[in-house]
């Protein structure tokens, strides 16, 4: 079956590449441009994995992550956080709030793909 992945990032230029990459690999890809939209789409579309950027308008990645983890229905949704800040404290904050993985920009597309597959158990 087709795995569904939501990309939540306001940076269009990175979304283009990731979306292209994941579609080529056969995933079904959804895109959200801010935190609130991301939360709504997770609830509506039930993706298997969310690629969550930390710095987003309206609601930041940490808050979205926390909201998702507060909802028992969404417990199965995997969360991979993407960030442009590489501080150790942030990584541990993300993981502490319930993210399943963490990647710091700039990352290689191969690593991203490997991480996505790992989180989806493929």
């Amino acid at each position: 079956m087709n795995r569904k992945i939501l990309i939540a990032d306001d940076e269009q230029n990175i979304v283009i590449s990731i979306e292209f990459l994941l579609r080529r690999e056969g995933f079904e890809v959804l895109v959200a441009g801010d935190g609130e939209e991301a939360l709504a789409k997770v609830r509506g579309e039930r993706p298997d994995l969310v690629l969550l950027d930390v710095m987003m308008p309206k609601m930041n990645g940490f808050d979205v992550c926390q909201a998702l983890r507060a909802d028992p229905d969404l417990a199965g949704t995997r969360i991979l956080m993407l960030t442009a800040k590489g501080r150790d404290t942030e990584v541990s904050k993300g993981l502490g709030l319930g993210a399943d993985g963490y990647m710091t920009k700039p990352f290689s597309t191969k690593e991203l793909l490997a991480e996505v597959r790992k989180l989806l158990g493929m």
Binding site: I16, S17, R24, A84, T104, P106, T109, L112
Partner: protein
């Protein structure tokens, strides 16, 4: 057998001998009975002769005894008295009289006395020398401290300030609102300046470090550092090291010696901290700001390179991403670079420099022979104004002038340049000129605006940057008539630097300069209740106020507070408090006549609720002294609620003390007392002037009070209360 008894025996023997003679004569005469011829004496006649002879013999004996007594008994006693007198005055000598033996003795005593006097003089001379050299060392130390560019404070273990330098005082005097309060003073507590816990903690670390050092290496002593903020918000880094002595408290022992105090060396780190913070922020923003665009570029690039069968439209999208993000990254880079160069600009401290000196050094730098260059560039200085002072970044200017000169040599084969320094109105004009070859304006402009790079020396700054940093301007100009061209630099003229006020004020002979007082080492804050302390040992704040009128309860207000301090019976004129106060009420015309302070003088001055807490801090740990202090205290007490500070210190009043000392005098006005005690009056009716006069008067009173048996604070207060004036109430 003593000489005295021998003498008496001799006298008695002589007397007996005479009596025997007399007796014999009498017997002879009695025996001469008259014969029948009538030759001889009648019985009555013989008795008369006998009596006369007896009297003569007794008189002779008496005279002999008196004479011998004088010679052998009275003279030694007199000499004994004279010898006793020499115990007190080593200049005295014993009189050489009496019997020959006694005179010999007197000579021997006199020789001894002369020896003793000589050795006493010798000791006195050595003591004088030692004291002079000690005084000299103290002055030298004080002079050294005054010249240090760092702030230095020395305290005893109780935190009492024993020594400080001018710089420490300036550094710590700035108040939070830009005002000025002298918190630092001899005998004052360092805790009014720094948090007690901070110092205590540092002291603990100091002791720990010192003990550790002891085990490793017999002599090692620790030091501690802390950073703290002043009331004005400056950051200070303090370096603390111990002062060792023989008789400090037990708990602070280090290798047989104990810590009796500590030295604080302070350094203002505000600006360097700000700079570090700014640079950190810059680097952080560069790193974090770069991650996003780099991430996008990398992802797009990987897609482009790895996916061969991409439609042209998709490929264009990726290329556009790379293009956009690269542009973003460049912009970010530029911002960071210019911020860094601003930072560089600020890091250069401007320094005062004599213009002539600047030119000499610049000429030398330009004239240095470069590697690979056949001949050095010739430099001449001309028209140098010797009196000009500039405030410049010297290093930057040397670099700029050299860069321009060497570029002339390299690109236009100029062989000689000239440097001149002249005054042009309020500006200094430095010309770097040369003959012959001209360049066009555009080239000159680019030389001034390119980053300087000379002989491997690259700088991110341009000549214009350097000159602007010195608040100046530079341009290229040429004079066709003289065939000269020059780069002209205009710089603001600075004042010749004046020496900072020297910390060491020449003290009268026998007096110490007021910035240090090592006698305070013996102090202990908690040991005594103030009341039982000797007046001579206490620290005082002598103060006076000027007011808008004489009725504190009817709305009159304080308009000026002046105060100075007395520590160890010295008036510290340099540690004073002098502040005008905006009363926010009208001044009575009578009061203006007294103090001369008009409404205009008070505009913009702080109000009482700002001034009083500062004054309270200034008075900390001292006894207040004022003339007619009850009046001033009434004003202060009425402000307690409004300002939140209470003056609970003991108060002494020179007016009352004067009444104690001279109860028969009719006036106890400050001038009258000053005149009586021989204090010269100056600057009266300014609060500080009056406070100083009051302080001098108080110091003169101390010995007089001691003569009356008033030695402690308690005694002084009780005596004051008993006087008539104490019953006056305001």
């Amino acid at each position: 057998m003593t000489a005295h008894r021998k003498l008496i025996l001799t006298v008695v023997a002589a007397g007996l001998f005479t009596l025997v003679l007399v007796g014999a004569t009498a017997a002879l005469m009695l025996a001469g009975e008259p014969d029948e011829n009538g030759v001889g004496r009648s019985a009555a006649e013989r008795v008369v002769v006998l009596v006369v002879l007896l009297l003569l013999a007794s008189a002779f004996c008496g005279w002999l005894i008196v004479r011998l007594h004088d010679l052998y008994a009275a003279s030694p006693l007199r000499m004994a008295e004279e010898v006793t007198a020499t115990l007190a005055h080593s200049g005295l000598r014993v009189g050489e009289q009496g019997a020959a033996e006694l005179r010999v003795l007197a000579q021997a005593v006199n020789q001894l006395l002369a020896l003793r006097e000589a050795s006493e003089n010798d000791v006195a001379e050595r003591v004088r020398e030692a004291r002079a050299s000690l005084e000299e060392e103290r002055s030298r130390l004080a002079a050294l401290m005054a010249d240090l560019s760092q702030s230095v404070i020395v305290c005893n273990l109780d935190g009492r300030v024993l020594l400080y330098n001018q710089r420490a005082r300036q550094e710590l005097a700035a108040g939070a609102d830009g005002g000025h309060v002298d918190l630092l003073g001899l005998g004052r507590s360092i805790y009014t300046v720094f948090d007690r816990a901070l110092i205590t903690h540092a002291l603990e670390r100091l002791q720990q470090a010192s003990q550790l050092g002891e085990t490793e290496n017999g002599q090692l002593l620790g030091s501690a550092q802390f950073v703290t903020a002043t009331p004005a918000g400056r950051l200070l880094r303090a370096h603390m090291s111990p002062v060792l002595g023989g008789d400090g408290p037990h708990h602070a022992q280090v290798g047989g010696l104990s810590i009796t105090g500590f030295v604080l060396v302070l350094e203002d780190v505000t600006s360097s901290n700000e700079r570090h913070a700014r640079r950190d922020a810059l680097i952080q923003s560069l790193i974090e700001g770069g991650r996003g665009p780099l991430g996008s570029i990398r992802a797009a690039a990987e897609m482009l390179s790895e996916v061969a069968d991409m439609p042209a439209q998709q490929r264009d999208r990726f290329l556009r991403v790379v293009h956009d993000e690269a542009a973003k990254l460049s912009a970010q880079f530029e911002t960071a670079a210019s911020a860094f160069s601003n930072d560089l600009r600020e890091r250069w401290l401007l320094e005062e420099m004599r213009g002539a000196e600047l030119l000499v050094v610049a000429a030398r730098r330009i004239g240095e022979r470069r590697a690979g260059e056949r001949r050095a560039l010739a430099v001449k200085t001309e028209n140098v104004d010797e009196d000009l002072w500039l405030r410049v970044d010297g290093f930057g200017l040397f670099q700029a002038l050299r860069y321009l000169a060497w570029r002339l040599q390299d690109e236009y084969a100029v062989r000689e340049v000239r440097l001149s320094l002249t005054r042009s109105a309020q500006l200094a004009q430095i010309d770097l000129s040369w003959l012959g070859t001209f360049m066009n304006n555009e080239t000159a402009m680019s030389w001034l605006q390119d980053p300087m790079s000379v002989a491997g020396d690259a700088s991110p700054l341009s000549v214009t940057d350097v000159v602007e940093r010195c608040n100046g301007d530079i341009w290229f100009q040429r004079e066709r008539v003289s065939h000269r061209a020059f780069f002209r630099t205009m710089l603001p003229i600075a004042d010749a630097p004046t020496d900072l006020p020297r910390a060491v004020i020449a003290a009268a002979e026998g007096e110490r300069p007021e910035f240090y007082d090592f006698d305070l080492f013996g102090w202990s804050a908690a040991s005594h209740e103030l009341d039982d302390r000797l007046l001579a040992d206490l620290s005082y704040t002598v103060f006076d106020t000027e007011t808008s009128g004489l009725q504190p309860t009817q709305g009159d207000e304080i308009i000026q507070i002046g105060a100075t301090r007395i520590v160890n019976r010295r008036l510290l004129r340099h540690e004073c408090f002098d502040q005008l106060v905006n009363p926010q009420c009208r001044l009575s015309p009578q009061s203006i006549e007294v103090h001369g302070i008009t409404r205009e003088l008070l505009v913009g001055q702080p109000t009482i609720d700002v001034v009083l807490p500062k004054f309270h801090a200034f008075c900390a740990d001292t006894v207040l002294v004022g003339h007619n202090a009850a009046f001033d205290m009434r004003f202060l007490q009425l402000k307690e609620e409004q300002t939140g500070v209470r003056f609970e210190q003991p108060v002494l009043d020179t007016l009352l003390l004067s009444a104690v000392l001279h109860s028969n005098q009719t006036t106890h006005r400050l001038e009258a007392i000053a005149e009586r005690l021989g204090v010269s009056v100056f600057g009266r009716h300014t609060a500080l002037g009056d406070a100083i006069v009051t302080g001098e008067v108080f110091l003169k009173m101390l010995p007089l009070l001691a003569e009356m048996g008033i030695r402690t604070l308690r005694q002084a207060r009780e005596a004051s209360q008993k006087t008539f004036h104490a019953r006056l109430r305001y």
